[in-house]
Symmetry: D2
Subunit: 436 residues, 4 copies
């Protein structure tokens, strides 16, 4: 991903646009065929001295100005006047950004598909693996690891679909000329050719200062990263020494510490959590930069390039890491089961209330359980034991019923059905939207 | 909008959810019909003492705990146990947030429709109104006010469509119980009834810690506000004393100053620009809060309520202000025309290059014009005059051709066609998506 | 805190400024003494209809315009012309903001002092309470709860001192008139009187569009909230069911759940974590709003009021909650000690490396320990046991030395000295800076 | 600045810390003198293969792990065990960050001093240059360009002083070992030596998860950038074609356009405005990352490096650009004077009110002027003319008095005195704080 958004890739993308523009204009007989070939032949990043163009940058508000100048020098006298005909710097840069975005999205979508597949497999495999559901980081009630993974899956699928939709509908050529009015050499026909050539959409209007598509892309990248962040946070928390229910897989030195021999740190999850902070910041730049002046902005547009590059790199990092993390996650089902016992049955107290409520009423049931909970807290004895001994409870529930009340597998509600629902939803949407 | 997101509205929305839940459960014979009626009858905000519930809030992590307690007290002994059956606090709060969001979106979409209509009318009316196109706040080339308004229109239409799609597809009930596993009293059937009752979607899974839908909503609200912000910035800049091409309409004291008799400040535009800063900040909270712990977050979820409320209020403010602003904008076409003359024809220099390039070549043409530009700068004489006197230019262009080169109306490229394209796009999508 | 930043408080603060301005001008014989008294007598929020002034707001870019108008009506014909003499709306609003900020800071600083005292007491009391130090949420090496509390203390002290410095040096009157040039009725003399009257600083220049002081205040409020957030996060993590080393104190229903009888949720910590997300967002608005136009901003200034209000309220909430949290924290030293045993001595492996390195060399020592760690992982047997049995280790260390290596109290490095250093630092700075 | 924060600089800074640590330990006889020399001799970035270390990075949560490994390989067998003794990765990285920050701040402070000098010179030189003061982008009242420059100056001076204070007081060594308890090889004595060696402060405690100093640094960098942003925005607005009161200086191609011959875009100002958006986003990451887990964070710390690097680079860019911009700004005093006439005297209406109020009363005076303003708006005739003809006005003011009322130089209030105050303040603080 670092490569897809590198300085060289940006330069090549800008050259790709210049080449495609010349070819489009030649196809419509607006410039000579020979000039277009000559221009296209030189539109290769390796022909240009990045450092030199970089040195010219501080004196112009964008890198297209020195690049076009250098390209004109390389193509020779006859073709030179046909370089960059009718276009404005922003046409080139914005279209290049769309190309970069598409390449990055293609890579990300593949990783997201891999991540989804791994999450689906975890959901399927751990359909009946009981574990503690935790709210506000307190054990709250029983759930399954399958349902947790199904939740990850559903979020990944939704993010993948939304990014696919953006890739297919929002990435558009920019071709408006100096102030977006278009002129002879960049009319609707040229735009059409350029769009076909670069496999980008045609916008309703040039979008020099309507940054909706960039904002949508950025927001959705941040959302996709956020989805990976939620998974990473769950993993980091489950991997805590005191919880120890999952571990990042991967062999060898991954996660080793420079000082502590015993450490095997969660690496991918931590890096995802770091990257998410970055994606949100970069997305905030882009959203905040929608407010642009007139026909070209004085600052807000210029802030976008680095922000979008950073966003693609960081978000792409989260999906790459996320796919690796989910693909090699080690799950300790035994420990999950044992952690359920930590509270002496307290985690099943809501289920007990429900069961008792069927025999008395909810208010009474809650009061009976509250009293046993209090007694467990005071005495330090297991709640389960106290419940079994409490005549006000055993009056309503037989011992086999109470055993069921304290059996995690009997406290799963619709967890299995929900896993199925999530898997069905995933399988139905497995093929990327655009192929359907 | 302040009313839609007020504390009272939130409380009523939570009560609406409790009422709907009871009715849904009664319809499925899970609780007695009479209890449901009794509960529903008391689910009116005015029956509750907001201040008292507020006083209990600091000791619980959310307002549902004291509200349910108060509701149980009000409904009487028989119905009390049937209040809030199977649901968890977050089920109520999240579903209430969806109700609030829908009401707010309905109001915003109406305002956006009004704003779009006004922008369309400006685009249509000012199709041939020439004005300076400005890049980096410098006069760059000629455009029309119609095309500028068409740009506003296109962005509004896209934001309106995106928000409509979110209203129709993303607002979903939340019903998962303590840890999202659902149980007998809140199974798929109840969820289904609840969704119909409240006219919300059914999600794939309970979404306690999958905040994608809230993030999408928030990002798109920020984008909609950003669209209004771009319009407001254009208006503020065009309304500058030295530019003076548009003014906010509205009668009487609007925009008066406490000290300066002559001032007529742009009020709606300024308030939109202020609000946009707020919407971005609130959206950043929500995006940053996607990373949530396990089955319920410890902080990230609790930060959402105020952020979403604030976002709806601020974004709603921008659309209300934006509709008013566009509906009463005063446009000074005469001043637009006069401002085009400020540079003695320099603003038409790119067109002159293009025209000259047809007779010589682009490089020569640019050199000739550059030289005349430099002379105009040094001498302080009008560029137009110097061009007319320069034999290296007049050798290529006749005086009628030069007159055309300096006629703004001949320098508009495809502006008119683009206005048509924007209006066609608007009219094709005029009916909200969901009605088609 | 909600009260300090309420709409009524803002209105009163604005009236306080108008009253003080009139008195200052009267003292310098610029307006009649009687007019000043009359004005001051009516500068009471309860005399004004907030709702009516609110209704006028949408048509003016700030609330001072309608407020001054209403005040002129109330004071009668003779005094009316002397209301708001020479001042501009922003003078009043900015100075009012400073008054609000000072009141809020006073309250926060008191809470921070209470929080510091509690943290100091925890540090002192738990100087030798061993517990696991955790990095990346993995048990890493032994530390003391005293040192952890000392870390909290040091951060609180620093935040308190920084906020005290801002309160004493950065809160300044604003008095510049329409464009900051000042005129006869608001000259340096009047500014001086006004500053004394309101106990605010005199700035170098009017600061209508130099928002440094507001930015500094906001950033430091966010930092103070961040300090509380770090403490809250530690508490939430230590309070996890599986860790269970601390609990929020407080009696009764604090932290109760609407569904789960056993839950005792961390409430203050969770609310702090929610609030910190808000403070950062509001601070971002203010920092982003430093870029203001000319002599008064079109949007950036108007965005500040709500942001600063929200920031004071949210940051104030974190210090109030933080003081309560630290003042009633329940610490389970026994559990802390037991959790140290969870890894069979692995947490002491770095200490063992250090000890072995003294007899061989660091590289060999690390290799020996790495091998024992690996064996412990494979076999599932306690690391401590394996180390005691490993002749390559026992060759270097006697059994009493090994016992020491596995004694947490022998692995504390300079923890006690660091606690002393933190307490000394706190005690040296106990009296607020401005008193010294 | 890009160089100061480059990957190579970071690696060198980490090696500088390792070298200084070894030397400090040798000085205290904790490791052999020869080992320290050997280590220090190899602590040169050019000895290491950045790409290789980069390739190892994804498998560890930070770059110190592979770097220490590589360093141990290079120094040979005897010295190897003495590399990185007692330190943890974060000790090295955090201290390296402080070194990077100091170098960057030194460079920035020099640029800020140059910027301040230029602003002071503009303030001094243009003490009597009248121009329009503008509020909400409307001409509001007369001011001087000297006062505007004095405002820039005062903000720069304050930002410079605040950054100097941070450089001198907040940049501290980090030396805590695995969990911040310190041990034999990194005790207070070693910390002391290390601090002297690296010319950094000693902190009260190791600050692994107390990020106050990083947050303060980041916030102040954002504030400094914001100060430059305010100047840049003023310049961009004043350089508008329709205002044309200032221009960026600089010769040759600076600000040229790829298509429009006449354009001379404001380049430095635009780039500053772009950079400020970035600094705010990076500062938000750091502020948001204060909430860190236990003794080392899982994500929040890792997000800091890139954020602080980016922040230093972007903020440094704004000061470099800002110094260049102010040092070569071209000011058109003649145009400033002419723009004052655009409103036919309306801009002086507040002064006329004040003058009339001395003869009648403020309310009457305002009514008289309001009426003339209205007449000017309706008739399109100059306000000044209408005032001179209005008997209700001429009854109170003689024609020479009216002439004075409409003379910009008579409407400057205390502008000159304020310029003096700003210059005095600057000169008093000219020597950086730490030298006094």
């Amino acid at each position: 991903m670092a490569e897809i958004v590198s300085d060289t890739s940006w330069m090549q993308a800008m050259l790709d646009v210049e080449a495609a523009l010349a070819r489009a204009q030649a196809r419509l007989k607006l410039i000579p065929e020979g000039a277009a070939s000559e221009i296209a032949a030189h539109c290769r990043a390796e022909e240009f001295d990045m450092a030199e163009i970089g040195r010219a940058a501080p004196d112009s508000a964008n890198p297209v100005v020195p690049l076009v100048k250098a390209l004109r020098t390389r193509v020779g006298r006859d073709a030179a006047p046909h370089v960059h005909r009718g276009a404005t710097s922003q046409d080139i840069l914005d279209t290049a950004m769309m190309l970069i975005a598409r390449r990055a999205l293609d890579a990300m979508l593949e990783e997201m598909q891999r991540a989804a597949e791994s999450a689906a497999s975890l959901a399927d495999h751990h359909r009946t693996t009981v574990m503690a559901g935790r709210t506000l980081l307190q054990q709250a009630a029983v759930t399954t690891f399958g349902l947790k993974a199904a939740g990850w899956l559903t979020a990944i699928v939704e993010a993948r679909d939304a990014l696919t939709a953006i890739r297919d509908a929002e990435l558009a050529v920019q071709l408006g000329g100096a102030v977006g009015t278009r002129a002879a050499l960049i009319d609707a026909g040229v735009e059409n050719e350029l769009a076909s050539e670069l496999k980008l959409q045609r916008p309703v209007l040039p979008w020099h200062t309507d940054r909706t598509r960039v904002a949508k892309l950025s927001a959705q990248l941040a959302i996709a990263a956020g989805v990976m962040g939620k998974i990473a946070l769950d993993v980091v928390l489950l991997a805590q020494t005191e919880v120890d229910e999952v571990r990042e897989g991967g062999s060898g030195e991954r996660g080793a510490s420079s000082t502590m021999p015993q450490k095997r740190n969660p690496v991918d999850a931590v890096e995802i959590l770091a990257a998410v902070r970055g994606t949100n910041a970069q997305a905030a730049i882009v959203l905040g930069s929608m407010v642009q002046e007139h026909e070209r902005a004085a600052g807000a547009w210029q802030a976008e390039w680095q922000a979008v590059s950073g966003l693609l790199q960081l978000a792409g990092g989260t999906t790459w890491r996320g796919a690796r993390l989910l693909g090699s996650l080690e799950v300790d089902t035994e420990r999950m089961r044992r952690n359920l016992d930590l509270t002496g049955g307290l985690i099943m107290s809501e289920g007990l209330v429900t069961m008792l409520a069927e025999r008395t009423d909810l208010v009474t049931a809650r009061a009976l359980v509250d009293s046993a909970v209090a007694k467990a807290r005071e005495s330090g004895r297991p709640f389960r034991q106290l419940a079994l001994e409490d005549p006000r409870i055993t009056r309503h529930l037989r011992s086999d019923e109470l055993a069921r009340a304290f059996d995690p597998s009997s406290n799963l509600g619709s967890a299995a059905a929900l896993v199925d629902r999530a898997l069905d939803n995933y399988r139905a949407q497995k093929r990327p939207r655009s192929d359907r």
